[in-house]
Symmetry: C2
Subunit: 435 residues, 2 copies
Amino acid sequence: MPALNRKELRLVWSDLSQDEQVGSFKKLSAIEAGRFFADLDAREQAKIILTLPLKERRLWLRALDPDDAADVIQETHEKERAALLEMLDMTTRSEVIALLTYAEDVAGGLMNTRYVGLRPDMNVDEAISYIRRRAREQVETIYYIYVLDHEQRLLGIASMRDLFQAAPDQKVQDIMKTQLITVSEHMDQEEISHLFAEHSLIALPVIDTDGRMKGVVTVDDIVDVVTEEATEDIQKIGGVEALDAPYLEISLMEMIRKRAGWLTILFVGEMLTASTMQLYEHELAKAVVLALFLPLIISSGGNAGSQASTLVIRAMALGEVKLRDVWRVIKREAAVGLSLGCILAFIGLLRVVIWQGMFKTYGEYYFQIGLVVAGSVVGVVLWGTLCGSFLPFVLRKFGLDPASASAPFVATLADVTGLIIYFSVASALLRGTLL
Amino acid sequence: MPALNRKELRLVWSDLSQDEQVGSFKKLSAIEAGRFFADLDAREQAKIILTLPLKERRLWLRALDPDDAADVIQETHEKERAALLEMLDMTTRSEVIALLTYAEDVAGGLMNTRYVGLRPDMNVDEAISYIRRRAREQVETIYYIYVLDHEQRLLGIASMRDLFQAAPDQKVQDIMKTQLITVSEHMDQEEISHLFAEHSLIALPVIDTDGRMKGVVTVDDIVDVVTEEATEDIQKIGGVEALDAPYLEISLMEMIRKRAGWLTILFVGEMLTASTMQLYEHELAKAVVLALFLPLIISSGGNAGSQASTLVIRAMALGEVKLRDVWRVIKREAAVGLSLGCILAFIGLLRVVIWQGMFKTYGEYYFQIGLVVAGSVVGVVLWGTLCGSFLPFVLRKFGLDPASASAPFVATLADVTGLIIYFSVASALLRGTLL
């Protein structure tokens, strides 16, 4: 492979084998390598670090900020972590260890501990000079400056713009904002991302139960979080356990393991349809024509349920719908389900009548059959819609993740009950004729 | 209703009726109202502005930055827009009109035109003083400073930190970064959000074809975009046309309209199953027991297809999988589909054998029936998986949105072919016995 520069390498990186990646990385000049490394995500950085000889590992690990180092260390296997931690200088090591105690997906696990703090009695000129000095060190964030008392408790926040707008002799405590939005160390990342979106923030301070400042979560981390959470939800709705890794990088065994579980649960649940059909075997034998519409009827219930549950799940995730909105949602969904059912029922009836006209497929009682199809479709679509919209609330109420009420699960629920609706309508309308 | 302060009002806002919202807003003091207004999204701001008397409308509209004013105006009906535009001062009006020419979801429609530009020959001290003066005006972004030539062409970018780290007499052109990431005015918002995520940026400059700077897209806009795009994808995967509005705010008519279209297409497609079953009506009449497993067989194909298509769609959206990866994906999915099919087939066979043992439900040829179920499940799951993973590539190749290969659509495709697989396997294995 020819030697690539930093930008070319970035473009082709994910297409290279591990060996090619390491080889190309080594061919970069020191400065290029440094910038390239900084642009990789934690997983990629961990991969590189672990392939390098020990002496170089230390170099690269020490080049990272504590929160990035913590991310890299979290991406490695347990047995490698102690060795990596040893390579950090003492201060960074204790910072990283502190960060590693947090789960990856809470404020503590996302935050950066290197921010600029000011004393409240500094004046604006002193503050700006201080910031200029601190900016030469590896301070991550100078978007906002945090005003702290002698016990690290957060008193207020000032932005660079606030400082610039003030007279040089004003005291920091006079210009700082005191109405603050803060997050606790254990706040879940999804909640944090909602705060960022709602208030259009660049950074959020993380404080402990005593009001002491622990670190800062910056919005670039949150963009990743929002994407990650959306991906998880999408995968759950599609009936897959969250993959937690890029699609092409998962091993086949891992892929099968994650998908077999859900697929098996659905399969076992769907076996109830075989038992349900057993109850109506008699009717089926008498009127085989009923079997012709089975897939059509039950799939319309499943599709209607999918739609409803997808919309409600997403609305819940975005905070548009809360638990107390359940009856409001059910009422809307009942109206929508009934309307959609009638539209489809009409099309279904039309189909039976037209086919009979063209091909004489359904025999003497074709119109009653058409009515059975239409009536069942109304019932099945209405019921599927209600199931699909209600299930997320039930799951949320029991503290479970509503996205698990994925479309396939709702479809399975709708299938079994749909069969009962179908054959009941058939028995009622075809009594004395076909049945 | 009692008078609420700004924070209380923010919490209950979405639960209030329009009249209550307007009433509570008017009860806020001028300063509280201003801060409250700034925190609302464009849709809410538009609602308030349109309910206010004309004189107050002007006040509120003029308080907005051009890009926010453009958003608000875009949220109002065509007939209201001219009147609102008239309320702006001439400079802002021409800026807003320029912004309104862009589609909402491209760089031009997201950008803010108020950024700080420097001449390359300024020195750092002059630059910082200049920035302090500009910060007093309504400049949105001072995270990055843009170095422009006399024709507004972008030469380089410097951050506040870069300026602070430099010696006061250095020239701006010596410290600015020249390797720049920029976006064109027409770049789609989803692409832009990928750039932000990949490079951990706070802001991106927008330039026209001559390299002239037009505005800046900031990351807080992008957080909204990422959520919006994810929501659209989720809704498409669940078989719904994108809603474009919070769930509880859409009218019933609108909801039905958006859902009926997709549901009808699926229903009409699924009618093919009725025609397909017609071909096998003879076999069904001879062996009614075959009907018992219909829902089970075809739903397993649909679920497997859902899984596959969901994963591939999301991987494509995140850039993890590209068009040229198609054969690699197909090979993986074939292996996964075969394995999953075998797992489910084994469970299916077990079910038949156990039920026969306990209830003697299936008669003399129960084992052959079990084999029919098992064989069909393997075929149907493998085929469903391949369909589900291939369809997004086909759609993408034809320039369509892969998320439209939503789970229900794939399920429908898998249903029709699944029937053929099922009855073919049945004919083969039950020839001479039940058939």
